[in-house]
């Protein structure tokens, strides 16, 4: 769309992200989804204590997940759907 540099891009390009930082980026999803192994979690926590860009990147990632959870409204199931499923099933041998 447009060439606006996002803060994330700035971080990774301007800081010459270390291999450690690259590893953190690859762990971020697993961290926020609760899928990281205990070793990865420890690695992550130790790293972000001293790395502001990674700390920020994690916050941002977490924020995105929360924004989705808070803003995507659940749809209400149409009232007749349950009964029509039941009657289709009743009629099925």
């Amino acid at each position: 769309m447009n060439a606006i540099v996002t803060p994330q891009n700035q971080v990774s390009s301007a800081d010459n992200a270390s291999p450690d930082c690259e590893k953190i980026v690859s762990l971020l999803d697993m961290i926020i989804d609760g899928e990281a192994t205990p070793e990865d979690k420890t690695y992550f926590l130790t790293h972000v204590e001293n790395c502001k860009p990674c700390f920020d990147a994690h916050n941002k990632h977490q924020q995105l997940k929360s924004v989705l959870q808070d803003n995507i409204k659940r749809r209400v199931v149409p009232t007749n759907l349950l009964s029509s499923i039941k009657s289709v099933i009743k009629a099925t041998a």
Binding site: I4, T6, E35, D56, L68, Q69, N71, I72
Partner: protein
């Protein structure tokens, strides 16, 4: 009426078990269908079709296993096989949702919400909600799907891999790319709205 073998369930028993195990999942299943099709009628059809298939294959469902993942898998396959072929159009913006969202929130009147100049009022939250929904809806369906499954329905990577028939590594990378897409869209939006959600120190 049939002459069933001893270990097979009567239709009544099967129906009762089916209803007890699978119908409670109607709500998340409908929401998944809606997020995929972005259309109420299509979602309705897709869910009905899913339950019908589930009923036909109910003997393959192992009781006590993950019924939700099983149904989501059936629905996802039905969507790919039938619905995607039918609707050639790309993801459309969900105007109905925007509308019903305003109507259900109902603490402000629509006119006020519509004024974009009033950026610091209650309505900011509504606008953000709409923007988030349309950013999600604009993602390619494979990306949208992993976000829905992970962030909105809370499936684990392993469950997602089963639902989608892809390796866990693919789940991970798809999720990562999907989130980057979304982040970019929403950050651009935030900038145009004069927010800068870079972190407070």
């Amino acid at each position: 009426m049939s002459d069933q073998r001893g270990n097979q369930l009567s239709k009544e028993e099967k129906d009762a078990r089916f209803e007890a195990e699978l119908l409670p999942i109607l709500d998340p299943l409908y929401n998944f269908a809606f997020r995929l099709t972005l259309d109420e009628d299509d979602a309705n059809d897709l869910v009905q079709e899913t339950y019908l298939k589930a009923y036909r294959f109910f003997e393959y469902f192992e009781q006590g296993t993950n019924a939700k993942a099983w149904l989501f898998r059936i629905l996802k396959n039905s969507f790919i096989n039938d619905f995607r072929k039918k609707s050639k159009q790309p993801a459309k913006v969900d105007y109905n949702e925007v509308e019903s969202y305003y109507n259900t929130e109902g603490n402000d009147n629509d006119a006020e919400i519509a004024t974009t100049s009033d950026m610091r009022s209650q309505s900011v939250q509504d606008l953000i909600g709409d923007e988030v929904a349309s950013a999600l809806n604009s993602l390619p369906v494979d990306f949208r799907t992993v976000i829905i499954l992970c962030d909105l329905e809370g499936f684990t990577y392993e469950e997602m891999a089963k639902i989608l028939d892809i390796p866990i590594g693919t789940v991970r990378s798809r999720l990562h790319r999907a989130r980057n897409f979304l982040k970019e869209k929403l950050e651009n939006y935030a900038k145009t709205m004069g927010y800068n959600n870079t972190d407070e120190d």
